[in-house]
Symmetry: C2
Subunit: 127 residues, 2 copies
């Protein structure tokens, strides 16, 4: 398998607070985001923190999706990393941002497995 | 909990091929890397691919550590993300790079949860 990959890092602000604290909703959203992007799911692990917040990962054949949510700040920290060129990580990242009702989505794309890392800035606002 | 976090992305080249294909070794390495950095482990999920390669995650109270290994290329793609300022993700990232016998370690640090993302380049070679 080629080492080439694309890693989208999304900082989501102004998300729906209830959704950010709903582990079942987040887990379903992440599984659906992976499937919508055409990924093959291998492992799913989520954890609910007290008093609030959810962390979790979906490991896919093509790498991973992760979240750490901070309901009290309306903030979710998202990573979508896909190896190869068959899948566009932005499809999953956008699906997640919309599902969580993010007002603001600050994202960068980091190329992986291609030598020295050169980050692409791509600031985008959502309404 | 504050949203502030530090995310180290490490591209490890010239790693030990056998170690990159040894799921048990990688899982132990990641658990120890997290503990050495002072993190609290919440979930551990690793997956071995056929014919080769390992993907996995350790979810910690302070965020996560992930790996995707490509033994046939001597390459491992590492993320160590820690929330708060109590833990230094570089401690875990360096531990992992050394354990995998990486000849070359190209890393960047991405600040998380602090508004627009400004990446710090920090190219480092290991011997």
């Amino acid at each position: 398998m080629d080492t080439m990959g694309r890693h989208v890092i999304s900082e989501l602000w102004g998300c729906n607070t209830d959704k950010l604290n709903d582990m079942k909703f987040i887990e379903e959203t992440f599984v659906n985001a992976a499937l919508n992007a055409g990924a093959e799911i291998r492992e799913v692990a989520f954890h609910k923190f007290a008093p609030h917040g959810v962390s979790g990962v979906v490991i896919i054949s093509e790498s991973h999706l992760t979240i750490h949510s901070f309901p009290e700040h309306g903030y979710a920290s998202i990573d979508v990393y896909t190896c190869g060129d068959r899948i566009d990580p932005n499809v999953a990242a956008t699906y997640i941002a919309e599902a969580l009702g993010a007002d603001k989505n600050e994202s960068i794309e980091v190329p992986r497995g291609m030598g020295p890392i050169e980050v692409k800035q791509k600031l985008s606002a959502m309404s």
